[in-house]
């Protein structure tokens, strides 16, 4: 049986700014936090109805709660051209199923 994924929670990983892939080049390392995991326990009647809904036009992603950040974090750093940059809402501070 498919291994049940863990419930939606905050995860983190150490990366450099360059590795974020936003086009900033800086060797500074930061903690990137993101939300991942299943939201089975947060489903409502609405989701149960949509899960079975045969009607077209409703994407699978909309049929059940998704694990998303409830709060975001910003960060400022010195890039490799020695200029200070700020990244808004780049990382998650808290997660929830919505």
């Amino acid at each position: 049986a498919k291994k049940a994924s863990k419930p939606c929670s905050l995860r983190e990983v150490e990366v450099t700014v360059s590795e974020l892939g936003l086009g900033y080049y800086s060797d500074e390392t930061l903690l990137f936090r993101y939300c991942s995991g299943n939201c089975n326990a947060s489903r409502r009647n609405y989701d149960l109805i949509l899960e079975k809904w045969m009607r077209k036009g409703i994407s699978k992603r909309e049929r059940s709660p998704c694990c998303r950040p409830k709060e975001y974090d910003d960060i400022s750093f010195l890039d490799n051209s020695n200029r200070y940059q700020t990244l808004h809402e780049f990382s998650a501070l808290a997660c929830g199923c919505v």
């Binding site: 089975n40 009647n45 899960e51 079975k52 994407s59």
Partner: protein, 607 residues
């Protein structure tokens, strides 16, 4: 005041042009004796300043005939209205009264004034029928045992001189013997003899009206409804027995009731108003023993019955013994309690009945049958797995008797036993059943349960009755069958069985409360929301069973199907106190959050 009006209301219609002096209607009042004479009065809300139209009417103090003092003419009407209704109030007394008419018998008179001239006599049958029986209220009532007399005027007085050449006469017929007659001179209906309600409650005499002119004669019929009002003229009596033997044993709870005795009364007993004056029963416990008065009371209710009283309404009174306080289990005595029932409104001497309760109070021993109780469980059982139930004698019958159970290690094992063995006894614990007075044994420590040196475990169960601290104890032996594989000994981390959504997952889960160590799958088969929904359970004997028991309530994840109080998602029916009574398809839970849905694997979900 014995006097009363035999009708609840009077109605009549008055037309423009009917001159002053026209009789409108006649009210009647029934008296107590020949010597009594009713006196009738029109009553005004503010007697000191009666309304301007008061002088319009004259009410003859002795005959009760209401007549017009004024000719009603067109100018009295506002042309836009065809008719209006003017209610009056008439009171009656048994002697002349000048003022302060409050509280006297009252009847409402309702006059409809029609802005039109008096219709002619009329020739057609409907018009003649109306001449005979004008639109009047056909209900009358007569109190039983009362003095006979006139109860109603049959003619429409306003039409007396409108149709002078009509001769109208009445007669009365009845399919049963009925003491009614007509006074031909006054066209009043007379009741000719006192009546007995207990013999007959209603009469429906047929009035026959003959209309005669020189050219024709015709007859018309109408049925009157005469209700006979009741008086308390019957003494209470006992039919079957006036004695009840009551044995008090396992039910010691305050408020419990025992033994019913019935007292009959042919009279009616109105339910309302509560402190009704008619046919009121009161009762007295014929003892001044303080203990008995403290412990017991006799409760009483009554209901109306007809069939057993010859199809006439009567009353059946029920009396039962009730505990006013909790009765100790040690109490052991016999006593006789007499109870005097008194029909307070019955005038005669025999208005009382004595009831007798022979009460035997047996003690309730707190005691285990002297046998060693044997329970078996597998070492694989997970924490909270239920092992069995233990109960002092008759515990399932107890009401109002509180027994608490606890486990102790037997003396024999105390002294010469190593610490390791001593720690085996944490394996099993006991909880207090919520439904009845039993103890529930369950696995408390799986590590101890699975240790090889922990063989068959012997405990002492101590039961203690709470009010008198009576104690009893017994020996129990928990036999641990089947050895255990290594993998099971390490892992003591348990999931909730309820998270299993299919048989495959379920039977792999080592769930809390699983008696075999693995969860058990229940496959439902019914369509729609059903009580036998599919679900994964630690023990299908106790979960789900619609009851969140003593062990299940220790952790929400043991059996959320019985214990959750959270909203349930999907098609379901809530349990009375908690849990899922019925569910659609499969019900599964993440801790207390439960879902019920059809897991249609076969039903492909296209997007």
């Amino acid at each position: 005041v014995g006097l009363y009006f035999p009708q609840n209301q009077y109605k009549e219609t008055v037309y423009v042009g009917q001159y002053a002096g026209t009789p409108v209607l006649q009210v009647h009042a029934m008296v107590e004796s020949d010597s009594q004479q009713p006196h009738f009065y029109l009553w005004w809300n503010t007697p000191l300043k009666p309304p301007t139209y008061a002088p319009w009417f004259h009410l003859d103090e002795t005959t009760g005939i209401l007549s017009m003092n004024k000719t009603l003419d067109w100018s009295d009407f506002d042309s836009r209205y065809k008719l209006w209704i003017l209610p009056l109030t008439v009171k009656a007394a048994t002697r002349p009264v000048k003022s302060f008419l409050h509280g006297l018998p009252t009847v409402r008179v309702s006059l409809t004034f029609i802005n039109d001239t008096v219709p002619p006599c009329g020739q057609t049958r409907p018009e003649l029928e109306n001449l005979c029986f004008p639109d009047k209220d056909l209900n009358s009532h007569i109190k039983e045992n009362r003095f006979p007399g006139a109860i109603r005027q049959l003619r429409q007085l306003t039409r007396l001189n409108v149709c002078p050449n009509y001769t109208i006469s009445y007669s009365v017929e009845s399919d049963v013997p009925a003491p009614f007659a007509i006074n031909d001179n006054t066209t009043e209906l007379i009741v000719t003899a006192p009546l007995d309600r207990e013999e007959r409650e209603t009469y429906s005499p047929v009035l026959v009206c003959t209309v005669q002119t020189d050219t024709m004669i015709d007859k018309f019929f109408v049925t009157l409804h005469i209700n006979i009002y009741d008086e308390d003229d019957n003494a209470p009596y006992v039919n079957e027995t006036d004695t009840e033997d009551v044995v008090l044993e396992f039910d010691r709870m305050e408020g419990s009731s025992f033994g019913n005795l019935f007292v009959y009364d042919r009279d009616t007993t109105p339910r309302y108003p509560k402190n009704q004056s008619q046919n009121r029963f009161v009762g007295y416990m014929m003892t001044n023993d303080s203990w008995i008065n403290e412990m017991f009371t006799i409760e009483h209710s009554f209901k109306e019955e007809k069939a057993i009283f010859g199809n006439v309404r009567g009353t059946v009174h029920e009396f039962w013994l009730a505990l006013k306080k909790h009765l100790s289990v040690t109490e052991n005595r016999t006593l006789q309690l007499d109870y005097l029932v008194n029909d307070t409104t019955y005038p005669g001497p025999e208005g009382t009945v004595m009831l007798h309760y022979n009460i035997t109070i047996l003690p309730v021993p707190i005691h285990f049958t002297n046998v060693t109780y044997l329970f078996t469980t597998t070492r694989r059982a997970n924490v909270f797995a239920q092992v069995g139930r233990i109960c002092v004698d008759n515990c399932l019958k107890f009401r109002g008797i509180n027994v608490i159970y606890r486990l102790a290690v037997t003396d024999k094992t105390d002294k010469n036993v190593s610490g390791d063995i001593q720690s085996c006894f944490t394996a099993i614990s006991i909880a207090q059943s919520l439904k009845d007075m039993a103890g529930v044994l369950y696995v408390n420590d799986t590590e101890a349960l699975r240790r090889s040196e922990c063989q068959d475990l012997q405990y002492v169960v101590i039961a203690q009755e709470q009010q008198n601290q009576l104690q009893a104890s017994t020996q129990i032996l928990i036999v641990l069958d089947s050895n255990i594989d290594k993998q099971d000994t390490e892992n003591h981390w348990f999931l909730s069985c309820a998270e299993g959504r299919q048989r495959g997952d379920c039977e792999n889960i080592r769930g809390l409360g699983a008696t075999t160590g693995r969860c058990q799958w229940r496959q439902g088969s019914e369509k729609g929301i059903s009580e036998s929904y599919s679900t994964c359970s630690p023990d299908l004997r106790t979960c789900p069973d619609g009851f969140c028991d003593a062990v299940e309530s220790k952790d929400a994840s043991i059996c959320p199907q019985d214990c959750t109080i959270e909203p349930i998602i999907g098609g379901h029916e809530k349990g009375i106190m908690s849990g899922i009574r019925a569910g659609y398809g499969t019900c599964y839970c993440y801790s207390e959050k439960c879902f019920c849905e059809k897991d249609d694997i076969e039903e492909a979900m296209c997007d």
